[in-house]
Point group: C2
Chain length 640, copies 2
């Protein structure tokens, strides 16, 4: 069946969920997909009928394959089809050209699925099946992040609560069980430089240092998380219950509320999601989950998850999540879905583990196609400078997805807004706007080449695109240094629609030389210098300004030994600049860094250059109004 | 291998996680357990190597099997081993006596696993394997409840937010998409008595009624939930963020914060968990998820999840959770793990679906052993009056678990407290205390017999128990009307240790007559009368008092048509009375009902008779200090 079966796309293309449902009976058992990849039954675990988790025993030490990253120009708010192109290209490489191929994509946040965004499984005839399982619980990884993140919060809050009402001696006696230190407690002792194993042998000052974290609540940067678009949780006061009170002072009979201003983020913004994305093994995961900084003590010492005693428990909660999830596309191409860190304040890339396992499975002649979120100025830059640095994988080719629509917007077309009717300029031929908008794409092409990687432009085809418009993109892309620029119709036709794109990618990979690949900056440069390299080289900014707060934070981070971390910029995806309305290729702009936060566990600093929203809201009529189940058949309805 | 293999218990019994690990290689693939039960591959889905979800297609219309419920006397804070006895009895029935048997138990809350409670998979040589998977994410059902519950909260909060700043006409135009009503909107119209399908045809007053829920925030009873012991979330203020503001009045330029006092509960206290426990099919699930009352409008109209438009989306989120999870015991007995509603404010019983599927799988000569949480005065009473009423399954036999320790406490022994050294009375023979404490057990025996069901007492053996003490329990239990009273040593010996108990249960079942079974009250009685029957017949209370609030609520519920629901008492498990310190068999006590809440979706009213804590805290040294992973082998350490 599998060798003769061929996708028969319908025209016009039905809705994503209808495509998904219509192919329900033609997808293969996930065990067949696994076995086609050469996995033995002990190397994967089915998780329901259409998903499987891949064991970390399949993680190769230094895999080699063709490695392709899909990114895009600065998008319109409607999105330009990066995920769809990633899936379509993988389908073309495998089903049309016969290469072994794995697509690696992020797990989408469930919250926005019920809000305005809809699904993220690709679309049309380039999507992951079943799309409803992809978009909802999947194999529980995001839920595991929620549980882990909030265990840290509970540990943090209750530790402050207990410290506020107990002497150090009382705290210490309660912290010691059966007169022995637990593993995490021994690790904390070591960190404090107290080389003792017997709880009886600590001096009074050592007891004080060990038992009291002395957290300054003003410095806490750790938020609780939920994978729900609940904007009223952005700012909250916790601890207002009648029992969350403590003595005003030692010995006092007066009690005061033990409350605090804080907030929730959406789960994919949790540092633990970033940790999942960059971890390379179970021991690396544990190490990272130990070193997350949640705030500072009154003496300005960074307080970590290790200090809270939760690192082992977090690793237990996250160990299954470290296994990527195997699914398949509408053309039975294997897909590894893994991690989904927010693109604004985090990496916006799927996991290191999935890409490495994928490379091992497809082998030297095969292809791993992975996606980098947001525009290339953010997603691709982070992919190269952060993700590739952690994975040691060397990319051969960047695919930059462009649409005529987005190019026209960059060329000066009217505002494009979700839920608003698209202006006529976008529906009829307008060569001038396209030509002018090429500024944006060209800068991304030049940027990509700075890393020593081959570039292919994929023009994601819309019905309204005209040949002349497409010709401009092709010509100007080649002039800017792209290996090729190809129109692709995978949404409508599946892999066959991306055959030409796949051929261009194969060609570009064959010409690439791994030795050409280079990072944009070295880690041992001062923090400010690294930020400035990104802003000048990638955004074409004139310079960078820092708030007083940011200046202070840089000093503190460098003092605490975090200065060598790579930089993960938090900036709008709608412009090269920090002003989302500046389209095209703005110059002479400056970047203002308001503050810099740290993700020490995940291993980066993130300067904040713009408004960052870490929990979306729901519109008056959220997407959930259409979502339902046929209670007779169990089929999901209304996801899009 | 499976026919000749036999459990070889070690002595002394290692810790639960060590037992679990030592048997890692002797457990069967979950597909073998499934196939031994007669399930075909299409009837179940493996979920990792040691768990599977059972398809609802296996749900039989009116299954018959022997149906045994395990409950207990009023326990000490250390617990008397109901879960362990449930598992041990099932092992004995299958492995020792050769009957087909399925044990049905609740999924434990993950929060307390990291706090003080530890695991809930049974213990010693009567437990579910692998215990770490049982105690942690399992197959994601609790996570699905968290996600669903909090989608309701987000929908509720943002609906109030949008209503506060929009006219009804504006709201209406935003609520209507593509000029059609969605299914949930049509259902709401029907509920409002507006029999129209065309959005253009509504009159102005109909638009007003449809578009504006007009929720009175003071009446909201719906809390957010997390499966984490985070006591600082018990009371919170939401909506304190800088963007959660609304105009003070229409047309006003002054803005005020859109904030509100509310709180979180632990996930197992969510009404959605109760709904999961009682649902009988996918359509029943959807119906229940539509009818949950979250609060009242300013006109005192109950506002439901249907009105919020989320019922379809909730069903999508919960549809996989409706499938019970198959696991196995240390002796390869099949176990269905499903739902875990809080025993205090909810049922404290596992799901109707799991018991019915279990009965269908073991057949007429087989045994379903199910567990009811808390003491028999709560768990068993709710099992009979609520769960059996929804399932139509007729129980044959009640097993009441007792320990010499708990009996001595009821007889006047010193206080038993977690973390405190046990007094000498509990370690040396004391016939007098046991004899006096039998008051408590005897009343439970008499209560169980009021339902027309046979009673077997299981004395869960501890090392310190003396023969004379056990003889007293046996003699007095038989005198009180138990069919048998048997000492059981399943913790140490596995099923073989419960062989005699299993024989007594088989004997009791063979004598039982389904026609003897009766409920304690009829649903159509007035609410107060139902409450009084429970308090007088089960708790031996002299009478019931109601606060003014409770009186008012009863009137409102009866007016809104909720008066016919069964009663789910929220009361301490440590005493028959509402005072946890009153041990034995108190008389002349009165029950004060402070308030009565409704779970209309799950289908019960719950009167609150005592302090109810719906989110536990963490001690100074929580259990997570010991929990870790061996990063080389992936083995979980330190769960207990």
């Amino acid at each position: 069946m599998s060798s003769t079966w061929k996708l028969q796309p319908q025209n016009p293309v039905p809705s994503d969920i209808e495509v998904s449902r219509s192919l329900k009976d033609s997808i293969l058992p996930i065990s067949t997909i696994a076995s086609n990849l050469g996995l033995t039954p002990s190397q994967y675990h089915p998780w329901g009928p259409s998903k499987a988790k891949i064991s970390l025993s399949t993680l190769p030490p230094s895999p080699k394959s063709n490695y392709v990253v899909v990114t895009g120009l600065n998008p319109t708010p409607l999105g330009e089809g990066k995920s769809t192109t990633t899936i379509g290209l993988a389908q073309a490489l495998q089903a049309s050209l016969g290469y072994k191929c794995v697509a690696c994509i992020r797990q989408p946040s469930q919250g926005p699925t019920f809000g305005v965004k809809g699904g993220a499984a690709g679309g049309g005839y380039s999507q992951v099946l079943p799309m409803e399982e992809f978009n909802l619980h999947l194999t529980g990884d995001i839920h595991a992040v929620t549980a882990s993140n909030n265990l840290v919060s509970a540990a943090l809050e209750s530790r402050m609560f207990h410290e506020s009402s107990q002497t150090s001696t009382a705290l210490y006696s309660r912290l010691i069980k059966n007169n022995t230190f637990s593993t995490v407690q021994l690790e904390r002792l070591k960190k404090l430089g107290i080389e003792k194993n017997n709880p009886q042998s600590l001096e009074e000052d050592e007891i004080e240092r060990f038992a009291r974290l002395n957290i300054n609540p003003e410095t806490i940067t750790w938020n609780r998380v939920l994978d729900t678009c609940d904007r009223h949780l952005r700012g909250i006061t916790v601890g207002t219950g009648s029992k969350e009170t403590v003595k005003k002072e030692p010995g006092s009979t007066e009690r005061v509320q033990h409350s605090r201003e804080t907030g929730f983020d959406i789960t994919v913004a949790s540092e633990i999601m970033s940790v999942l994305a960059v971890s390379t093994s179970l021991s690396d995961l544990r190490e990272r989950l130990s070193s997350m900084v949640i705030g500072f003590s009154y003496d300005n010492i960074p307080i970590t998850t290790l200090d809270l005693g939760v690192s082992g428990a977090l690793t237990v909660l996250m160990k299954d999540a470290l296994m990527p999830t195997l699914m398949q596309t509408v053309e039975r191409t294997p897909v590894l879905v893994h991690a989904g860190p927010f693109a604004n304040i985090s990496l916006g890339n799927s996991s290191v583990v999935a890409d490495k396992i994928g490379a091992g499975l497809v082998g030297e002649d095969g292809y791993v196609v992975t996606e980098a979120g947001f525009g290339a100025d953010i997603g691709m830059e982070k992919f190269f400078n952060i993700k590739c640095r952690k994975s040691n994988l060397i990319p051969n080719c960047v695919v930059i997805v462009a649409t005529i629509r987005a190019l026209k917007m960059h060329g000066g077309g009217p505002e494009v807004k979700a839920g608003k009717v698209l202006a006529d300029e976008y529906k009829t031929m307008n060569v001038g706007l396209v030509e002018k908008g090429m500024d944006n794409l060209i800068r991304h092409i030049i940027n990509a080449r700075k890393f020593g990687v081959k570039v292919v432009v994929a023009i994601n085809k819309f019905k309204t695109d005209e040949d002349e418009e497409i010709e401009i993109v092709k010509r100007m892309s080649l002039e800017a240094g792209a290996e090729d620029a190809v129109m692709s119709n995978h949404w409508e036709e599946g892999g066959e629609g991306a055959r030409e794109l796949a051929q261009a990618v194969v060609e570009a990979c064959s010409k690439s030389n791994p030795e050409d690949f280079k990072f944009l900056y070295e880690l041992n440069l001062p923090v400010k210098e690294k930020i400035e390299i990104i802003c000048k080289e990638i955004y074409a900014a004139e310079g960078v300004d820092y708030s007083e707060k940011a200046e202070h934070q840089i000093t503190e981070y460098e003092k605490n030994g975090f200065g060598d971390l790579p930089i993960c910029m938090a900036k709008t995806q709608y412009s090269f600049s920090t002003d989302p309305t500046k389209k095209g290729a703005p110059i002479n702009h400056r970047v203002l860094i308001r503050e810099i936060r740290s993700c020490v566990g995940a291993g980066f600093l993130y300067p904040i250059a713009g408004d960052i929203m870490t929990i979306p809201g729901l519109p008056t009529r959220p997407g959930f109004y259409d979502v339902d189940v046929d209670v007779e058949t169990g089929e999901v309805l209304g996801l899009f």
